[in-house]
Symmetry: C2
């Protein structure tokens, strides 16, 4: 028999699911707790029982996205492989994660547009992903496998592409729109991303 | 002596300048006409004399950004050059434009996160930039200089980088932040971007 605690946890997850949809679709200021409540089919007051307010709910959504993204990429980790294989595995992990969860891609775009002080939650959350990226680049550079280059610059040219590929496939206008989850599209994009990574990180 | 019409045009430009700062800094829903009025030092009612409402002001800001970006890149056009030179000139033009106008880079990120119906203003504005990009890719592919690849995919891996390089240099956390206008940073990033473009568009 289901107990009270697990019913509560289920409601909490349903609130987070609905909030993730909403924060992806609308900017933070336009998103309302009432809309989350409506989508879940509960009262606004019931949300406040789980999350003190919109900011707390937003932060929980964002933290859940980064946790899931890290868990997804951790499964693909290959610590003994050459740095290039590790880098491609990380990029593939991000790409596949975002394709499977397009709400996350749009929220990442919104995070990228907003400035936060260094101590705020969004920066702290994204640090985990940035750290995993930098670790691989730095180790590859230390061993001489990768040439010197700024990990941030490399991220702009490789990681940003995974976000744009996933988040904007339906925003380019009728004749240009594509389905990011279509396997032909996805493998063609992955192939280009790998080609760019190999060229940016091959020693000259 | 300055006449009434040119004074009016100056006020209109000052409103657009202040609005561009505001729409870059805050999401659309949080931006208020009152804040624009305060920044310009006029009354809210005076803004409404020039722009009927927030949506009209926002659209004028966005249109001005795309016009300026196109004017900037048009100066660098080299219609008789090989497609690769044209493509690099366009990317360089975008990069230099955004570095000189970081508000535009952040607004482009926000546009990318928001869905619009095909007939709405943002999609129509961005069509001009997308069209210039596609023209070069398609002509390069038609002549055999470029291999087949989706112009949209290529844009995600090259154009998105110029936006991220410019808009997020101060959002990566204290130890990672950089000044996108610093010439060492800018030339290092440009070099990587060119390397990626050459590798993505060289025939195998």
């Amino acid at each position: 028999m289901e107990n009270k605690a697990s019913r509560g946890e289920k409601t909490r997850q349903r609130i987070l699911d609905a909030a993730e949809e909403l924060f992806a679709e609308k900017d933070y200021s336009a998103a309302r707790l009432e809309d989350v409540a409506l989508a879940v089919g509960i009262k606004r007051a019931s949300i406040v029982y789980y999350f003190a307010g919109k900011q707390e709910l937003y932060e929980a959504v964002e933290q859940r996205i980064f946790s899931a993204m890290m868990a997804h990429t951790r499964r693909a980790e290959r610590p003994d492989a050459p740095a290039m294989d590790q880098l491609l595995a990380l990029l593939d992990g991000w790409l596949d994660f975002l394709v499977g969860r397009p709400t996350a891609a749009r929220i990442l775009l919104r995070i990228s547009a907003n400035s936060y002080s260094d101590s705020s939650a969004p920066v702290r959350n994204s640090f985990v992903a940035l750290g995993a990226w930098e670790d691989i680049i730095r180790r590859g550079q230390a061993s001489g496998e990768f040439p010197p280059a700024s990990p941030a610059h490399l991220l702009h040219l490789l990681g940003a592409g995974t976000i744009y590929y996933t988040a904007t496939g339906q925003l380019l206008g009728e004749e240009r729109n594509y389905d990011p989850a279509d396997s032909g599209q996805l493998e063609a994009f992955r192939n280009l991303m790998h080609r760019s990574a190999r060229s940016l990180l091959s020693s000259p």
